[in-house]
Amino acid sequence: MKLLVIAGPPSVGKTSLTKQIIKRFQKEIKIAYLKIDVVKAFEDIELRKEFHILTKKVYSGDLCPDHAGVMIMGDAIEWAESNNTDLFIIESAGLCLRCSPYLNQGLGLIVLSSIAGIHAPEKMGAMVSLADIAVVTKIDLISQAEREVLIQKIKEVHQNIILLETNALQGTSLQRLYDLIEKSAPINKETLLLKGSPPLGTCTICVGKKEIGWKHHFGVVKKLDGLAADYLYRGE
């Protein structure tokens, strides 16, 4: 199973981009989708209706969504694999901006909007510097010069990131992304690790344990299914 983790601030076009990817690959392979958001998300229903693919959502509540994702991903990957998924797409609301949801396998993608401000790439340092690919959306709304200024800013945060620009509503010039997804190797869930070290906090993830899945963690953590309260403060 291939894994694609898509993160970025609210309303930058993560779901619009996801839709283009689904459109491109839907006929060839089986796709599953998970949305991790804080309090509200509708993507699971929307994408299931539009594309008839397997979808799921989970709310992180008081936790940062990327943080919650670390716990949930273990279960989620099992869920996707047990449903014979070929490509598993995880969209994270990525609100905290100090964490980064990317793993040592699969593809990590950050979505940035052309109109979100020129300092956004620096403010989201952790996410930008650990992503494999940056996709700049909404290029239909700004000039070529301004697009290039933004791209330069992103490169100055992460020199080797693979940069793409698109009008995500139309899916323009995404061929390179499709090639990268096609070429990406399947993941091995036994050896999945977080790429970055999360900042200080109140659980085993916060203190730097990078293993994926709830059996490795205690503290403020929750599972993919079930009530949050049951799983908060697991262990000691």
């Binding site: 300092h119 700004i142 070529q144 290039e148 200024v149 330069q152 010039s173």
Partner: protein, 259 residues
């Protein structure tokens, strides 16, 4: 070296294939794109700017010197042989004019120290109210923004292929822009509703329903008409500038021979 670009046909809005086999544009050629609003003019030049590979809404492919562009050429501004001036009249970047030019010069790998002053000087030739280096790009007017972006495309973009989307609507000094652009050996494409610009170019593409409908070459009568229209347009320009500067229009000024 860019010798030519080739556009391979895509599909119109009803998914019908375009009528041409290929369109090849050579260094030194000027082309205009005309057609009703919504007919796909901006989409056509955007395909060129993005070096489309069947992955835009039109399905067109663009070749450079007869070959498919590499990924580096498509996605790295420093290697992109194309500068485009879009219809946008707003910048969102919270930067001063000076910072904007500096970062863009870095993106295009231009090391010339003078580049910021030169670009600003050129921008100020196109606009009435002067732009200062410390101005935030976000507070510039529509016309000032476009002047800035045109100067930027010419000197910092400095590309062998220049695409201009309806520059006549920018409230800037069109004659100056045309003069500067005509004295180059670039491929220049104008999307335009302006008869002067349309008749001055060597080739004319007519768009409809998202596709190229017709390709015309400038004939002799047309280039004559263009010269007349150009004089006419210059006089209009003089009157416009007089009005803008608060002068009254005198008898001599309007009795100028418009025949």
């Amino acid at each position: 070296m860019i010798k030519e670009i080739t556009i391979l046909p895509g599909k119109d809005k009803n998914e019908n294939k375009e009528i041409f086999d290929q369109i090849t544009l050579k260094a030194g050629e000027t082309i205009s794109i005309v057609g009703p609003t919504g007919s796909g003019k901006t989409a056509f030049i955007t395909d060129i700017e993005l070096l489309a590979q069947g992955d835009t809404s039109t399905g067109r492919y663009i070749l450079i010197n007869g070959e498919s562009p590499t990924d580096e050429r498509r996605y790295d501004p420093a290697q992109k042989p194309i500068a485009m001036i879009t219809q946008n009249t707003k910048c969102f970047a919270d930067l001063s004019v000076e910072e904007f030019f500096n970062i863009h010069a870095r993106a295009r790998k231009i090391n010339k120290k003078q580049i910021v002053t030169d670009t600003l000087e050129l921008a100020n030739k196109f606009t009435g109210e002067k732009i200062k280096p410390h101005h935030k790009v976000t507070i510039l007017s529509g016309g000032q923004t476009r002047s800035l972006l045109i100067a930027d495309a010419l000197l910092i973009g400095a590309a062998p292929i220049i695409l201009l989307d309806e520059i006549e609507n920018a409230g800037i000094f069109k004659q100056e822009v045309i003069e500067i652009i005509r004295s180059t050996s670039k491929i220049i494409i104008f999307v335009t509703h302006d008869p002067v610009i349309a008749l001055l170019t060597k080739k004319r593409l007519i768009m409809g329903n998202g596709a190229v409908k017709k390709i015309l070459c400038q004939n002799e009568a047309e280039s004559g008409a263009a010269q007349n229209l150009l004089k006419f347009d210059q006089k209009m320009g003089v009157i416009r500038e007089n009005l803008r500067a608060g002068y009254e229009i005198t008898q001599e000024l309007v009795s100028a021979n418009f025949a």
